[in-house]
């Protein structure tokens, strides 16, 4: 598999490590239901057949966390963005 790192370009999947679904957001730790919200955040994941946005870490490259759009049925990759939300790399 090859992943389109927004900073480095298309690279072999061996350069990356995988985390999982990018959708869960760290809940507000001060909320009254924080215990339940954190339980869901840490343990509950969907297992979609189809499109999913996933977190990958380019550890053997630019060390950026990226979000990859992948189809779990075909492994087709539609694109990738920085997880930090910035539109481009800190190209220098």
């Amino acid at each position: 598999m090859r992943l389109p790192c927004p900073y480095c370009g298309v690279r072999d999947a061996h350069e990356f490590s995988y985390l999982g679904d990018a959708a869960p957001r760290r809940p507000d730790p001060a909320a009254p239901d924080a215990a339940d919200a954190f339980h869901d955040y840490v343990y509950l994941r969907d297992n979609p057949a189809g499109a999913i946005r996933e977190l990958w870490y380019h550890g053997a490259g630019c060390r950026r966390w990226i979000v990859v759009d992948r189809d779990t049925r075909t492994h087709a990759i539609a694109g990738a963005t920085f997880a930090s939300g910035s539109a481009s790399g800190d190209a220098s």
């Binding site: 090859r2 760290r26 730790p29 924080a34 550890g59 950026r64 075909t74 920085f82 930090s84």
Partner: protein, 986 residues
């Protein structure tokens, strides 16, 4: 010798000596082992898998089900080598396999008599009872009887390489279509890789007597290869099998670099595993002949029509004295004519069709070849084939023949197209499966698509390649295409001769018979995937390339479905077997993974250190001295020397992360359970970080080097994991924080000196820096220079519990620093120590380490709960407050000492109350770390036990059934040495 007197693509000026089962033989350069065996009149090559029936050579390619041999000897012995693709070299030695005592007389051919017991599903039916006998008797017996070759028993002495390649177009298969494709794409300037499993490009052209542009087709091949070789943007990979299609246009390929040589030359691998990334790919893998099923169709001498033609035309090897051709299609006729012209005596062409095409009849007549239309082979005879019995409208007739060349039609080589799950589609007009949905970017041309005409192969190769590279922006032209003439090939589906006599094999490699298919049908295993697993049809090294289609077509006949609806099993990588050694490449033995020596590695080796692997690192474990009899004696000396004088250890392996920015303090507050934003500049603090689920992830000291500048240390094992976690926190959780990080683990050498004399040693290496207790107190950090100008950071921290300093210098100065410290410490008897002594001292001091940070413990479990700040949020805070983590009966971290001081403690022992049995219900916890304390003179331990801190002084059982241990131990405070920490602060 059955070598034809002329012709063939063999070099008669280069004779090669080889042996088969110890018998000396001769062949020529250009031969395969199979062609050379046939030319030496060897017709019996192996014994079948289950029934040990005599078998010969069936095919001329990688689909071979029968002719598997052990190639080479000793450490280089390779079982299950297909003789049909083994390129002959001088000195080659091969042996038949799966026979005992000899190939000619195999005692287990009696299995043939047991056929009724070994039929479809025999694994599930025959040896069911009593179950106890399965492992002891049935399985060993079956395994010995049903065998393939023997693997080498010594380590492989050869090397294997791995290479990566990138191209615009990967052309798989270098026959007519593949050569035209590579030429078309290559001329456009696209980067092209052309791979072919054969050692010679040309595909079927090498075996067919055809003309291209009114000249022998071989001339076209030579021209094409010469032009391709001259194009700088084209890479030719002969002897290379593309065995798998993977995501993102990635392909796995195996190049047999030196398999055709007596020995790999120096600095040359035997095989090379290619990872090819191709923007587009074009499969031109051709097609293979498949058999017709009839009684006695497995005798040595029965081979595919394609094989007969190939041996006669390409290798000038006559497979037998007279040949009968049995077919249902016109391709087999032209094979017969080519073989006849090469010198094979064709006794008859038997075609199941009542009326063969007139043009074929005309060609047969012109050559004087007898034709039996509407005929079927119903029996064969001879241990090695001697005659065939043909049934036709005029009755039965026995025809003497040593070769029976059969063709039930062609099966396109669709394997790679279904590696992404694409299902091959049945085409009734060619009675074969053609590619369905292909992997992204893959096209198919030529016979692999069911297009068997030479003219159309040439045109399609050019056209598909032109389209593929045009999509990438290249200007490619699919003209001019060389012209070839060939006749339309027709086929009438025909699978199985009903009423034929003797066992009729569908799958030669697995000894699956027509009867097995019937049994599978009767017993309900009708779906193709079930049929495969119940009968073993299509398994093992050939993956049923000559048998699958026939087998499932026969099932279709039984179920009354058409073949297309019955479908075919999916093909998965690898296309042909790949040696694990080739995939491992250089990553074996010590080179399985990288080794990281510490900056003082060479120095430690010179001191006689024994090393231990810590992840990728090699660390000094202990430093034995002459006269010391075991490691414990050495470690005791090192500990005692450190506690009473001064010791030295390289701690460079700890992870070091440089963290800078206006929000660095706030960031650390969010990842550690304790607070770092309040840490004064020039001070260090011990920190604990959790995973978000509340379990401890790592610990270590973090220092504040400047207002916006921190340096974190992590454990050796978790350095990479913690760094990745911090990047996650910064980039994913809190991208608004203004913080930058870099791993500096490898930039700094760090050496710890510890013991009452540590300061006296340190004072001699610093450049005028005040390191007094007042200027550099416990947990203080100083920056300056040492050794006359070497930048250094000095951390007054201690893992051993003694007065200690860690001195960090640029990595290249590490050895110099170690030597300077040793010289400065010589008057105090400074002693280098290793990880064992460090471990003893940290256990004596009651520090947690990897054994306690084991992915199951919370900060509270480890007695670190009070460090957690209640004034802020941090990773893992919310879930660390879950009720289960706060339960009364939960384990806590305490020390253990033997009630009888002579007893040895064992890590891993479980704690039980006295008088209770060793069951899970009575389990109260376990010992995590143990050491012999030279200071106390007995073994000590650390561990986790229920309500441990409340039970100091209580005695429990340390129960260790695995090693037969069961001793009383007393629960105690985990700090055995200096619990108040006075030694740290002097």
């Amino acid at each position: 010798m059955s070598r034809l007197s002329e012709g063939g693509l063999i070099d008669r000026s280069k004779p090669l000596a080889f042996s088969f089962d110890g018998k000396a033989m001769r062949g020529y350069a250009g031969d395969t082992l199979a062609s050379a065996l046939l030319a030496n009149d060897v017709r019996l090559v192996g014994r079948s898998f289950k029934y040990h029936r005599p078998r010969g050579i069936f095919s001329s390619g990688s689909e071979e089900p029968n002719a598997l041999v052990e190639l080479r000897d000793g450490a280089r012995r390779e079982p299950n080598s297909r003789a049909t693709v083994v390129e002959l070299y001088d000195g080659l030695s091969a042996a038949s396999q799966n026979r005992w005592p000899s190939l000619d007389f195999d005692i287990q051919s009696v299995n043939g008599l047991l056929g009724p017991l070994l039929g479809a599903g025999f694994y599930y039916k025959t040896f069911m009872w009593p179950a106890a006998l399965w492992e002891k008797l049935y399985e060993p017996l079956i395994r010995r009887a049903a065998g393939l070759g023997r693997a080498a028993e010594a380590p492989d002495p050869d090397s294997y390489d791995r290479s990566f390649a990138f191209c615009d177009l990967l052309v798989i298969g270098g026959g007519a279509a593949g050569l035209m494709a590579a030429l078309t794409a290559g001329r456009s300037g696209a980067r092209v890789i052309l791979a072919d499993e054969d050692f010679r490009f040309g595909g079927r052209i090498l075996a067919e007597r055809a003309e291209i542009d009114d000249a022998p087709s071989l001339a076209f091949v030579e021209r094409a290869v010469a032009e391709l070789a001259a194009l700088p943007n084209v890479r030719l990979l002969p002897r290379t099998t593309v065995f798998g299609a993977y995501d993102g246009g990635t392909f796995g390929a195996l190049e047999r670099v030196a398999d055709h040589l007596p020995l790999p030359p120096a600095f040359t691998p035997r095989q090379r595993y290619w990872k090819i990334v191709a923007k587009r790919s074009l499969l031109c893998a051709g097609a293979i002949d498949r058999p017709i099923v009839f009684g006695g169709n497995d005798r040595p001498g029965v081979m595919s029509a394609q094989a007969l033609r190939t041996y006669a035309v390409r290798y000038a090897a006559n497979p037998g004295k007279r040949a009968v051709v049995f077919a249902n299609n016109g391709y087999a006729w032209s094979a017969a004519f080519d073989a006849a012209e090469a010198g094979v005596d064709i006794a008859a062409i038997v075609d199941v069709r009542p009326e063969a095409p007139p043009i074929q009849l005309e060609r047969a007549k012109r050559r004087g070849v007898r034709v039996i239309q509407g005929g079927q082979v119903v029996a064969t005879s001879g241990r090695l084939l001697s005659s065939v019995t043909v049934r036709s409208a005029t009755g039965e007739e026995k025809i003497a023949a040593e070769v029976l060349a059969i063709s039930g039609g062609s099966s396109p080589n669709v394997g790679l197209t279904s590696h992404f799950g694409g299902k091959p589609v049945y085409r009734a007009d060619i009675a074969g499966f053609v590619p369905g949905a292909c992997p992204p970017g893959m096209r198919v041309a030529g016979a692999a698509r069911g297009d068997y005409s030479l003219a159309r192969c040439l045109a399609a190769g050019a056209a598909e390649a032109a389209e593929a590279v045009s999509e990438l922006g290249f200007s490619a032209y699919a003209t001019p295409v060389p012209q070839a003439r060939d006749n339309a090939i027709t086929v009438t589906p025909f699978w199985h001769v009903p009423g034929s006599r003797g066992p009729a094999f569908v799958d030669l490699q697995n000894d699956v018979t027509a009867k097995d298919i019937t049994i599978a049908h009767t017993e309900g295993f009708r779906a193709v995937e079930l049929l495969k697993r119940y009968t073993t049809l299509g398994m093992a090294t050939d993956q049923g390339r000559t048998s699958n289609v026939t087998g499932l077509a026969m099932m279709a006949v039984l179920t009354g479905q058409d073949v297309g609806a019955t479908g075919t099993t999916l093909f998965r990588p690898p296309y042909t077997p790949v040696a694990l050694g080739a995939i491992a490449g250089h990553h074996r033995g010590k080179d399985f993974r990288a080794t990281r020596p510490t900056p003082t590695h060479d120095w430690a080796r010179a001191q006689g250190a024994v090393f231990v692997e810590a992840g990728l690192w090699l660390r000094a474990q202990y430093f034995p001295r002459p006269g010391e009899t075991d490691w414990l004696e050495t470690v005791n000396r090192e500990v005692t020397a450190t506690r009473t004088g001064v010791g030295l250890i390289d701690v460079s392996t700890f992870g070091k992360i440089d963290i800078q920015g206006p929000d660095a303090g706030a960031f650390l507050d969010r990842v550690y359970i304790n607070t770092f934003s309040t840490l004064p500049v020039g001070r260090a603090r011990y920190g604990v970080m959790l995973r978000e689920d509340g379990i401890v992830m790592d610990d270590g000291t973090t220092s504040r080097l400047g207002e916006r500048h921190y340096l974190m240390t992590t454990t050796t094992a978790n350095a990479a994991k913690v760094y990745q976690h911090l990047e996650f926190c910064l980039q994913v959780l809190w991208p608004e924080l203004d913080v930058q990080m870099a791993s500096v683990s490898e930039q700094w050498a760090q050496i710890s000196i510890a013991g009452p004399q540590a300061r006296a040693v340190l004072e001699q290496v610093v450049d005028g820096l005040d390191v007094s207790n007042a200027a550099l107190p416990y947990m203080g950090v100083a920056q300056g220079t040492v050794l006359s100008g070497v930048a250094a950071r000095i951390f007054r921290v201690s893992f051993s519990g003694e007065l200690g300093y860690e001195i960090a210098v640029p990595a290249r100065q590490g050895r110099r620093l170690a030597e300077a410290l040793m010289a400065a410490g010589a008057p105090f008897g400074i002693t280098p120590y290793g990880t064992e002594a460090l471990g003893v001292m940290r256990i004596e001091k009651g520090h947690v380490s990897g054994n306690e940070l084991n992915g199951q413990t919370s900060a509270r479990d480890l007695g670190l709960g009070r460090m957690a700040s209640t004034k802020k949020d941090y990773v893992g805070r919310v879930l660390s407050q879950r009720p289960a983590f706060l339960e009364e009966g939960r384990v806590s971290f305490v020390g253990f000492k033997p009630v009888n001081p002579g007893d040895r403690l064992r890590a891993g022992a479980h704690f039980l109350p006295h008088g209770r049995s060793g069951t899970t219900a009575n389990d109260e916890g376990y010992m995590t770390s143990v050491a012999f304390s030279p200071l106390l003179g007995h073994w000590i331990g650390l561990g986790l036990i229920a309500r441990g801190t409340e039970r100091i002084g209580e005695s429990v059982r340390a129960y260790d059934p695995v090693r037969g241990g069961d001793i009383p131990v007393e629960i105690c405070h985990p700090a055995f040495v200096d619990p108040e920490g006075e030694r740290l602060r002097v």
